[in-house]
Symmetry: C2
């Protein structure tokens, strides 16, 4: 049995009761180091399997292996596991390598909603999530989606806004959106996963 546990924006008090119980009652916690560190107050006798970024496939295989040994596995993921989290990869690997495995998914609060609450800027109307990571999505598709979102006057939440390899995608996204949006719309930076409740906002 694998429970995919969404841990929300980075504070224990932002996790659901269901998510907390799943972590407390599992045999093994599997996850990216940063997310597991958050859970320390909930850890007692659980085994841990922790690794780093870009090791998602290894992590999912390990979770499946442990589940096949009869262990109750909590696969943890920040935010909501289905929103650019481990949920999709975990489901794929189970489907391919252990389709008899039972999976239960616990949803969580995604960064977009947490940031909007922390900013005091509720999203209110129709909106989009767009990831600026081009690891799995072609950059031309990302640009097309940004342009369509601008045409539709959607509120846009950008995920994976920048990395060392692509420091300028955030400016590219802003420029595409500003083709359509007027400057009275304040773009807001993510609030460091809602930790501080002291977000920075930038008006352009």
């Amino acid at each position: 049995m694998i429970t995919i546990v969404s841990t929300g924006p980075g504070l224990i008090e932002c996790m659901s009761g269901e998510a907390i119980e799943a972590v407390k009652n599992c045999d093994v916690v599997v996850g990216y180091k940063k997310y597991v560190t958050l859970l320390e107050p909930l850890l007692d006798s659980q085994e841990l399997f922790v690794n780093g970024m870009k090791k998602e496939v290894d992590r999912c295989r390990k979770a499946l292996e442990l589940s096949k040994e009869g262990k109750k596995v909590a696969m943890v993921s920040g935010g909501d596991a289905g929103i650019y989290g481990i949920g999709g990869i975990m489901q794929e690997i189970v489907l391919e390598e252990g389709p008899e495995t039972e999976i239960y998914s616990i949803p969580g609060i995604s960064a977009s909603h947490a940031a909007a609450a922390a900013l005091g800027a509720p999203i209110v109307h129709d909106s989009c999530y767009i990831s600026l990571s081009d690891l799995l999505t072609d950059i031309e598709m990302i640009k097309k989606r940004l342009d369509l979102a601008g045409q539709g006057d959607f509120i846009v939440s950008l995920y994976n806004p920048k990395s060392k390899g692509r420091p300028h995608y955030i400016e590219m996204a802003r420029d595409i959106l500003l083709r359509h949006k007027k400057s009275r719309y304040p773009p807001c930076w993510d609030c460091q996963k809602c930790k501080a409740r002291q977000p920075r906002s930038v008006y352009n």
Copy 2:
């Protein structure tokens, strides 16, 4: 002080610890009847102000009035209060009628994420939220957004899918999306706010 409390998809165990504490520790709970009923296990000596649909403005004015009397008010909203919830109206009314009032927003799990988890169908890639309610958005704009979402191959979460006055908008939405999406994409009905964890899904 007004705390906007997002109560998530309809189960106490899907609420965050922060949301539960806010309800337990307030003087007055203000909300739509259905959402307040969910909170019964958390209610003790709190006053209640409860009303029905389309009474959102009255509800927000009452919350502001109670806050001005010095009470700690929990304004509750299903899902995430910023996603088609009470968050936007509450902020507007405070801005217009009591800008000195302190507001704190607690995010929650929106129906889209809860439904995806219950269905075992994580959203995974770029996605949109579109409401089919034409009370505040012109129907032509709704159609345009559906078409743009289809063009961009976004995963689409439809909110307010139907009502007595507009029973066929859901079919309209499907037809617009199917201009672009192939039939291998299974549209899935909302899972009754995740209550049963027995969602229905429909393949068209």
